[in-house]
């Protein structure tokens, strides 16, 4: 049997990521899974193997232990042979109100959503540069497109990821390395389980095929579901005074 793509995953337990990983299983993908919770990671590994994939290795650690990322990527490279695709999908949704009053909450938000991601992205990019090929797909968020009073700490972290990926896209322009910035809108996942779901919400299952296609094409920015491109375009165009009056 032809062996499928080698995929390195940070944040494999995330709902969006799991749905995406399922789509590669039928091609006999080989995975190296990294996540925080070892029990959940094992359940995901069993699921992917049952669907036709192979899990060639997995590691669980806290993503704030930043010294581990570099060696983790090297182990994945050894285990997979070649990293065809690296996915960075971990993150956490902070409590905006808590962030407004607690420095610790802000630090956690930045550590989970920016600092750890930036270091992982750096380690992956380094490996892909050595390989001279491969795709790096990072899950950021529509929240980074414009600072809004409702969630500007999370938005700031995700905007940082945007700038980071834009820079990398410039650096790897014209090479075999592709950088894909995935921007989910409001998705029903455990991360957003405390929020009220309305008509613009989508399921992780529904958006996974669009992410899969964006990665296959090496698209620079991928809004999922696609209508978020329009929503965010409008939000970016709003004058500051108008935006301030909106309850978002």
């Amino acid at each position: 049997m032809k062996s499928g793509p080698g995929i390195l995953v940070f944040g494999a337990n995330s709902a969006i990521c799991h749905e995406l990983l399922k789509l590669y299983a039928r091609q006999g993908a080989r995975y190296y899974l990294v996540g925080r919770n070892p029990q959940k990671l094992q359940a995901i590994a069993d699921d992917l193997e049952a669907r036709g994939g192979t899990v060639s290795g997995s590691t669980s650690y806290d993503f704030n232990e930043y010294q581990q990322h570099e060696s983790c990527v090297l182990r994945a490279r050894e285990s997979l042979g070649l990293i065809d695709l690296a996915i960075v999908a971990h993150g956490s949704l902070p409590d905006q109100v808590e962030c407004e009053t607690s420095g610790t909450a802000v630090k956690t938000c930045m550590d989970d959503n920016f600092t750890s991601t930036a270091i992982i992205v750096q380690a992956c990019a380094r490996q892909l540069a050595l390989q001279r090929r491969g795709t790096l797909a990072v899950v950021s968020s529509v929240a980074g497109d414009r600072g809004r009073k409702g969630n500007y700490f999370y938005g700031a972290a995700k905007a940082g990821i945007d700038a980071l990926l834009q820079g990398l896209q410039g650096r790897f322009s014209g090479s075999g390395v592709k950088i894909v910035n995935i921007k989910p809108g409001m998705i029903i996942t455990p991360m957003t389980s405390g929020m009220k779901h309305g008509p613009i919400w989508a399921t992780a299952e529904a958006i996974a095929p669009a992410i899969y296609r964006a990665i296959a094409k090496g698209r620079k920015v991928c809004y999922v579901p696609g209508y978020w491109r329009l929503i965010m375009f409008i939000i970016r165009c709003l004058p500051t005074g108008v935006l301030a009056r909106l309850p978002i």
Binding site: A15, H18, R26, A43, I44, D46, D47, A50, R51, T203
Partner: protein, 406 residues
């Protein structure tokens, strides 16, 4: 999680037709994230997975490996947990029995926090209560089921016209070696033609062929519910005449992908909206063989007399294989499924007149498709209720349960 008098009910994809999947005054536990496969043994055909996976998701994985679900209901969007909790049946009931017959074991999470492994040999009484138990014995978190081998995704399908219930019975008898049988009945047929319909029978193709699961997403959708039902006696009459005429013209055995045969309604998203904003009532009953044919005749005549139209009228003979659940609906006899646009009191009165016929014949109504049965008819159709009640989770309840146990 549950405090005071709060109750809980598992909620999969909400594909039941009535209130058995709703807990209006309490908590609903979404099983959407219970969507992982634990182990798929592609040599033996045994699947162990979490209960929130839909049958569609399962088929996507097992069909390419040459396996199929042992029993499939009319929709692939039901979850595994829902299939067990309603002990669903399919077009192969006469040979395979209900879905519960193929469950090797299941894991039940009780509100006390206990996890109980239940199977026909372990915690057998709780297993019997949970299969067909409408989610009231606790949350089914995972289950292990037996699969059946297939050589191809194709079915051999044959349609035959019948002109009365006796002919249906004869076709049903002569089709014992066809895995799947089902009939569509023309509820608009007049006088001499009452009971006419089309008998479809199918089996998995035996020659090796492609093993490609069906398309996941429906190509069509009904975008909104119109204020009035598009299903009425005029549209149904025209549809039925056309459908019967088309059916009477094809006699050859044809080959077809399994998906449109098993799941025709899944081809249109939100098909239920064609009934308009007031919705519709399903009515599915089973009547024992003895006197069953007469009871079905009586029901068809009552429909005719009422002038109401049932768009989908499906008749099927259940086999002798015993359903494992205390509250399982499938039992030997004839089952008729009907649906009627909700026209308020008029529709409810018609369905109450059906109840009398079903009760007199010693039959039962299907809880998964019910929104109106009385406590009396529920008790008459499910005599094992007294054995079921002690197995219930003290913190679990549903709108259906409160309605039929008042």
């Amino acid at each position: 999680m549950l405090t005071g008098s709060d109750t809980a009910l598992p909620y999969g994809r909400g594909r039941s037709y009535g209130d058995s999947c709703i807990n209006s005054q309490g908590t609903q536990i979404s099983t959407r994230r219970l969507n992982r496969i634990i182990r798929f043994d592609a040599q033996q055909g045994i699947l162990h997975c979490e209960a929130g996976l839909t049958l569609d998701e399962i088929l996507q994985v097992i069909v390419p490996m040459g396996w199929f679900l042992p029993v499939v209901p009319g929709t692939r969007f039901a979850t595994l947990g829902g299939a067990i909790a309603n002990d669903v049946h399919g077009k192969n009931h006469h040979l395979a029995g209900s879905f519960g017959c193929h469950v090797r074991s299941l894991m039940l999470l009780r509100s006390s926090g206990d996890r109980q492994l239940c199977s026909p040999s372990e915690n057998a009484q709780r297993f019997a209560a949970t299969v067909g138990g409408l989610g009231l014995t606790g949350l089914i978190t995972s289950a292990e089921i037996n699969l059946i081998p297939i050589a191809s995704h194709e079915l051999e399908v044959e349609d035959k016209v019948f002109s009365c219930i006796d002919e249906f019975a004869a076709l049903s008898r002569e089709s014992a070696d066809w895995e799947y049988t089902v009939s569509w009945i023309d509820t608009f047929a007049r006088n001499g033609q009452v009971g006419r319909g089309i008998f479809s029978r199918a089996r998995h193709a035996r020659e090796r062929g492609p093993l490609i699961p069906g398309r996941r997403r429906a190509a069509l959708a009904v975008p909104i519910a119109p204020p009035l039902s598009l299903v009425n006696k005029w549209t149904v009459n025209s549809f039925n005449r056309l459908y019967f005429w088309a059916g009477s013209r094809k006699h050859v055995v044809r080959r077809q992908h399994y998906q449109p045969f098993f799941f025709p309604l899944d081809a249109i998203n939100h098909w239920n909206r064609i009934y308009g904003s007031r919705g519709f009532y399903q009515y599915q009953c089973v009547v024992p063989h003895l006197g069953g044919e007469q009871a079905i005749q009586t029901l068809l005549r009552e429909i005719h007399r009422s002038g109401e139209a049932s768009f989908l009228a499906v008749l099927k003979e259940f086999g002798q294989r015993r359903s494992p659940g205390l509250l399982s609906f499938p039992r030997p006899g004839l089952t008729l499924a009907l649906d009627f646009p909700n026209r308020g009191e008029k529709t409810r009165r018609l369905l109450e007149s059906f109840d009398e016929t079903v009760l007199a014949a010693g039959g039962a109504l299907y809880p998964a498709k019910d929104a109106r049965m009385s406590p009396q008819i529920f008790a008459a159709g499910f005599p094992a209720i007294q054995d079921f009640i002690p197995e219930m989770d003290p913190k679990f309840s549903s709108a259906f349960w409160r309605r039929v146990r008042e």
